[in-house]
Amino acid sequence: MSEATESYETIAGCKVQMLRGGKGAPLLFLHGGGGAGVWLPFFKTLAEKYDVIVPEHPGFGRSDTPDWLDNVGDYANFYLEFMDKLGLTGVNLIGSSLGGWIAADLAVRDSSRLNTVQLVAPAGIHVKGVAKGDLFLWSPEQLTRNLFADQAIAEMLLAMQPDEDERRRRMKNALMLAKVGWQPRLYDPHMRKWLHRIKKPTQIIWGDSDKVIPAEYGPAYRDLIPGSKLEVLKNCGHLPFIEKAADTVALVSKFIEGSKR
């Protein structure tokens, strides 16, 4: 298991927090609406094989909130600049939920620094007639419960009392998620028109019991990205890399290894 070091980088005038650990090909993880800042077992395991980089998005957690931030397109451009600044090439990009939306948008714009793209229950598109969960109307407890198929995980998280800093970070994260995702709700009506431009090997991973973005979105995303592959995990909610960490590590590394040129 590999540990991480914490650092701060200033990119596009915005100071962002970043966890980084391990050695190997770069693996950039873009987090979802709940934020990042914790070196999860998922990252530790991947860091045995890869150089795992987990930034907190501008406006989230310990990162600053820049004036220029309005939408997911701003995030996509920000991470293009982020990869430039860090000199990353052959990047294995993984994005979860909001981060999956950013990853897809980024890959449509410019995938020259990417090796693979993996989208974990990504936001970013809308499937007519299939409603997403209204997470802004859920209480904190409902949200925690609806994120997981296995309620034992929810119980464990609910038993932990957040301190003042953590409470503040959660408010900050919720505000930023609303800012970029409230309307249209968690998608960009124009992105689907251009997803076919993603030419790098792409894998989509979904939990079959996702209550935030239902699993029906998986095939829709797959069909919009030619040649992409969809993997559905059984008895799993919106956060497979937490709820089914070992299975997700296996899927992710197998896909990267299989995509080596």
Partner: protein
């Protein structure tokens, strides 16, 4: 002191047991709870009550804007204001909506208010609000854009009224090449402007600015909050280098008057408790979606409001009276309470909600008669300062 009567026009025939199945009277409460056969009677009764305020001697009447709820049936308040413009002769007519950020074409408010000002012969008071958090769930407008959209829409409307058209407005959310509102507003340079709020330092700093000096109206809040925000307005005015007049400070609160304290409490009890516990009921996430308040303000809201919104503490007539959220009693004791609060907080405009929750028509009328006949004369001299409020020119 100036006296206004505000009406919310609640769907007063609501099945009060709705909360056994639904957690709010807002946003998600099925509209099948509204009986179309009862709508016409309720609307016309409520309009009659506002017209009656003109007859018994109020200085003004107020209508209000909320969407998709049983609490108030005026999603388009100017429909009611238009009827009042014709049916009343003397009262000021305050529209305590329009929720500007909810609109994609805010120039419609410049038009709508100008029409009302024309029809009423210059009796309009123009309210500007952001709408409460629930509105952002109902309309889908992004609450994180609410403050910025409000300020832009306000600037745009003021430009439409005060700058000869056509002129150009170039904002981030609103951009118009032809700002050229017809009809023009009657009251020059513009009607009095009121900013109703549940209390926020950002709003107070903005409303009290020397180029605006807008009337700040604190709505349905505990007495300690009322004092805190009125003091904040005065302190901010001092920082800006002027003294705030009582005429810049308004207080909106439900009031009930009967012959004796005992009778007033007995008659009002079920209706005021329904108002606070049933009509206002909504979970915290509905009331304050992320982004509606700045991060700093959101942190100040704290756990108390969270618990209150979750309905963990049910209001009783005693609890709301004790907190100064309901003024109730004989004419003497109501006058006394209002005088006490006036001395404490220095307000000069009282916005009395004479009908609340399920309060029936006859009791509403008697409430108005006793208030206008026996309370107003006792306290009219308070908070009087008729010196016109001089606003500095904006650069």
């Amino acid at each position: 002191m100036k006296f206004f009567m505000i009406h919310l026009m609640p769907y007063a025939d609501i099945d009060l047991d709705y909360d056994k199945k639904h957690n709010s009277a807002w946003v998600t409460l099925p509209n099948t709870y509204f009986d179309p056969a009862k709508g016409p009677g309720l609307y016309n009764r409520f309009i009659d009550e506002l017209v009656y305020a003109d007859k018994v001697g109020f200085d003004g009447v107020c209508v209000n804007e909320h969407h998709q709820n049983a609490y108030g049936m005026m999603p388009i308040p100017s429909v009611i204001a238009g009827a009042l413009a014709r049916e009343t002769k003397n009262v000021k007519i305050a529209v305590l909506g329009r929720a500007l950020p909810l609109l994609t074409y805010p120039l419609s408010v410049a038009e709508e208010y100008a029409m009302l000002d024309n029809i009423s012969g210059g009796r309009l008071i123009a309210g500007f609000v952001r709408g409460i958090g629930a509105e952002y769930h109902s309309t889908g407008v992004n609450p994180a854009e609410s403050h910025d959209r409000f300020h832009e829409a306000h600037d745009l409307i003021m430009q439409a009224w005060t700058k000869p058209g056509p002129s150009r407005y170039e904002g981030k959310y609103y951009h118009f090449d032809y700002v050229n509102t017809w009809p023009r507003i009657v009251q020059q340079p513009h009607p009095p402007i009121w900013i109703p709020s549940q209390g926020s330092s950002e709003t107070i700093n903005w409303a009290s600015h020397p180029t605006r000096k807008y009337v700040y109206l604190q709505t349905f809040s505990p007495a300690d909050q009322l004092k805190r925000f009125m003091d904040m307005y005065r302190a901010q005015a001092n920082k800006y280098g002027y003294e705030a007049s009582p005429q810049q400070l308004g207080w909106a609160t439900p009031i009930y008057v009967a012959e004796t304290d005992e009778q007033a409490k007995r008659e009002a009890k079920v209706h005021i408790e329904a108002f606070y516990n049933k009509f206002l009921r909504m979970p915290f996430e509905m009331l304050l979606p992320p982004g509606y308040l700045s991060l700093a303000s959101m942190q100040n809201v704290g756990q108390k409001a969270r618990a209150a919104a979750a309905g963990e503490s049910m209001a009783t007539i005693e609890s709301v009276m004790e907190r100064g959220m309901f003024i109730c009693g004989s004419p003497d004791s109501v006058a006394q309470q209002l005088e006490h609060h006036q001395k404490q907080v220095g307000y000069g405009k009282l916005v009395a909600m004479m009908q609340f929750g399920t309060l029936p028509h006859e009791l509403t009328k008697r409430n108005m008669e006793l208030f206008a006949g026996k309370v107003i004369p006792k306290i009219r001299h308070l908070g009087e300062d008729d010196t016109p409020i001089k606003v500095e020119a904006a650069e």
